[in-house]
């Protein structure tokens, strides 16, 4: 059996592989089956909506170029923002992967090494049960800090400048520059730039503790307030 083709093919080749897949992959899949995968629209929440509307106000021209005009009716405008925000999250995640952000920034806070004191609550399974975590963006290396609690910590302006030229804000940062996310200057983010900022502001936006550092009062977008 141990030196025969059938043994090697069936037991080692297929059998042991299948056993490992069952024990290491199928078991967690079954254990999390009570947490169905949320769609992108379902993970749009008030916090990330706030940031998305903030982008619309800070960069009106860029925002309009990327997403067009919201409908005049406040109810419809609300739905419109939700829809566009989901769109931005999806594109933002694609940029995050395509630029290799996930190879220098992790997305999980461990219960060791004082990580909860540096970043906030330890990561839990339910946080990852959504479309934007398929494939999961855990990451395996931290040249820069973990980002799973990054949302809301810094303003969109900060992120814009930082993506454009990181060492303007973080001196001696080894992070590369991403000027192609902008039309020439940091105050003119393009579609990809706006999307990546929305994605980063979304990270951790589902937690009670969002934002972790900065005080803010959730205010709906101004023209909606004005019309209501």
């Amino acid at each position: 059996m141990f030196e025969k083709k059938s043994g090697i093919l069936l037991i080692a080749g297929v059998g042991f592989f299948a056993f490992a897949f069952l024990s290491n992959a199928v078991i967690p899949i079954l254990m999390y089956r009570h947490l169905p995968e949320k769609t992108v629209k379902q993970v749009v929440n008030g916090n990330v909506r706030y940031q998305f509307e903030d982008l619309a106000q800070r960069y009106p021209a860029a925002f309009e170029k990327a997403y067009g005009q919201p409908p005049a009716d406040p109810q419809q405008a609300g739905e419109w923002y939700d829809e566009k925000c989901a769109e931005a999250l999806e594109v933002g995640r694609k940029v995050y992967i395509g630029e290799g952000c996930w190879h220098c920034h992790s997305q999980f806070v461990r219960p060791v090494s004082n990580e909860d004191r540096r970043w906030g609550p330890v990561s839990q399974s339910w946080e990852y049960q959504n479309r934007l975590q398929r494939p999961v963006m855990f990451g395996t290396r931290r040249v820069g800090p973990d980002l799973s609690r990054e949302g809301g910590r810094r303003s969109n302006d900060w992120h814009a400048v930082h993506f454009f030229k990181p060492d303007m804000l973080s001196p001696k940062s080894p992070m590369p520059q991403y000027p192609w996310l902008f039309d020439g200057t940091p105050d003119q983010p393009n579609t990809r730039g706006l999307a990546l900022m929305t994605y980063v502001q979304w990270l951790g936006s589902w937690l009670e503790s969002y934002p972790y550092y900065e005080d803010y009062a959730p205010t709906p977008i101004k023209n909606i307030v004005a019309t209501e």
Partner: protein, 463 residues
């Protein structure tokens, strides 16, 4: 092996009918080309880390993208191509049967180069897939999988026809042909289309791990069990230990994927299981190392004098070191400190370059003069290549492993993030130097290869 010794030479098929030598060389050329691409990418990312990127702010030269080209070009461009070339030599000679079809072999060669090039181009255009070591854009994955299936059929045919017991190399090869296909399919499709979150993490870990353990490792050990006895002109020390090594690897290796994601929300008992099987595998590895060191008994200093053999045993020594490191670093205590740090990067370089690339470069050093039927253009340069590769790698790995400890302590001490970057700068600088040494000697090797090829043509023309 033993049965072939009893057959008279007249009955053996001729080497020329078995091995498509030209294809072996083509694979080596392709492998070394991707090695240069990968190392260029590595240097670019390395320079970015020490803030000396010569090409900043250019989209197509973004270090983040080139970092993915670095790993993919080395895994699928260098390592896979070199293995395919070496298998085209070993499998027909060991089974005494040619591969299924020579035209198919050339189709596979072309298809595989297309897959790797398309991967690199796709990544540079920002189309990477979010699976580590599987960043190949999603639309290339099915093609790559078809390629792997054809590889399995082309090489599987002669292996399946072997009558009676098979030699160790063929156990590893046969299993690896199945495993590589399954691993690639699992890792690229399950976390992309079927499961999200922690479960996708578990599958992703399994993929990262199986790629090393079920694709690279068995193909690597397969060639060691072939070349080492041939170069030493003696059988392996213990057939029993060969059996333990193969079956131990087959059972324990696939069970460890989750150890790449310890302390994540993946269920804790599964994390413990992965840790325990990692430590168990270390014992299996020990039996393999003992077997290979035992084979050396009574051969004097042959392992030092014979350059290919020296490559192989250097790789075996690094293999022992990395596996010992695995057994320690996989423990939760170690992980708390070194996970996410450059320790892991140092470890990965020691495995991929120190072990498998060293073996493949050794095999190239051995095979190229045999195929070209002339000595190396400059054997001295081959020595330089060895010492530059081994020395550079040792410096790089040692440096990064040490760097990882400093980073881990800096983070745990809640120092500002920038301190962990500042403390890394000296280490990252040394890493660049080590990388450039490794790069330089590969270029020297390629030039030597080129001159040897030229020389062989001159020799052939003069005959």
């Amino acid at each position: 092996m033993t049965s072939s010794l009893t057959v008279s030479d007249a009955e053996l098929p001729r080497h020329e009918d078995l091995v498509e030598e030209r294809l072996v060389l083509w694979y080596f050329v392709a492998a070394l080309t991707f090695m240069v691409i990968s190392m260029t990418a590595g240097v670019l990312m390395g320079l970015q880390l020490i803030r000396h990127n010569p090409l900043p702010a250019i989209e197509l030269f973004s270090p983040g993208r080139w970092r993915m080209v670095h790993t993919n070009a080395i895994a699928y461009g260098f390592i896979a191509n070199a293995f395919l070339g070496i298998m085209h030599w070993i499998i027909p000679r060991l089974t005494l049967r040619p591969v299924l079809s020579r035209p198919l072999s050339y189709v596979i060669f072309g298809a595989w180069q297309f897959v790797v090039l398309a991967t690199a181009v796709g990544i540079l255009l920002g189309e990477a897939q979010g699976v580590e070591w599987g960043e190949t854009p999603v639309w290339i994955d099915p093609l790559a999988l078809v390629g792997l299936l054809l590889v399995a059929i082309n090489f599987g045919a002669p292996i399946i026809q072997v009558r009676g017991p098979m030699y160790v190399t063929l156990w590893y090869y046969l299993a690896a042909l199945v495993w590589t296909f399954l691993t690639y399919a699992m890792g690229n499709f399950v976390p992309e289309y079927f499961v999200c979150g922690s479960s996708a993490g578990a599958v992703g870990g399994l993929f990262i791990h199986d790629l090393v353990g079920l694709f690279v490792t068995p193909l690597g050990w397969g060639m060691m069990y072939y070349f080492v006895p041939i170069l030493l002109k003696r059988p392996m020390w213990s057939h029993g230990l060969s059996l333990v090594g193969f079956w131990g690897l087959a059972f324990f290796y696939p069970l460890q994927g989750i150890h790449h994601f310890l302390y994540t929300p993946i269920p804790m008992f599964l994390q413990y299981g992965a840790v325990l099987s990692t430590i168990a595998l270390e014992l299996v590895v020990l039996t393999v190392i003992i077997n290979f060191v035992g084979t050396l008994r009574g051969t004097g200093g042959e392992v030092l004098r014979n350059l290919p053999l020296r490559y192989f045993y250097t790789g075996i020594a690094f293999y022992f070191l990395t596996c010992l490191q695995c057994a320690l670093q996989t423990t939760l205590t170690f992980q708390a400190l070194i996970h996410f740090t450059d320790w892991v990067v140092g470890h990965a370089h020691m495995v991929m370059f120190g072990v498998f690339s060293m073996w493949q470069l050794g095999a190239m050093t051995y095979l190229v003069p045999r195929i070209l039927k002339t000595d190396w253009y400059n054997p001295e340069w081959c020595e330089w290549h060895f010492w530059g590769s081994a020395g550079g790698l040792m410096l790089m790995s040692g440096d990064l492993i040490l760097c990882g400890l400093f980073q881990g302590w800096s983070w745990a001490a809640l120092q500002p993030w920038e301190s962990s970057v500042q403390v890394s700068i000296p280490f990252w600088s040394v890493r660049i130097v080590a990388g450039l040494v490794m790069f330089a000697v590969q270029l020297l090797f390629i030039y030597n290869f080129f001159k040897t090829w030229q020389k062989s043509r001159a020799v052939a023309a003069s005959v």
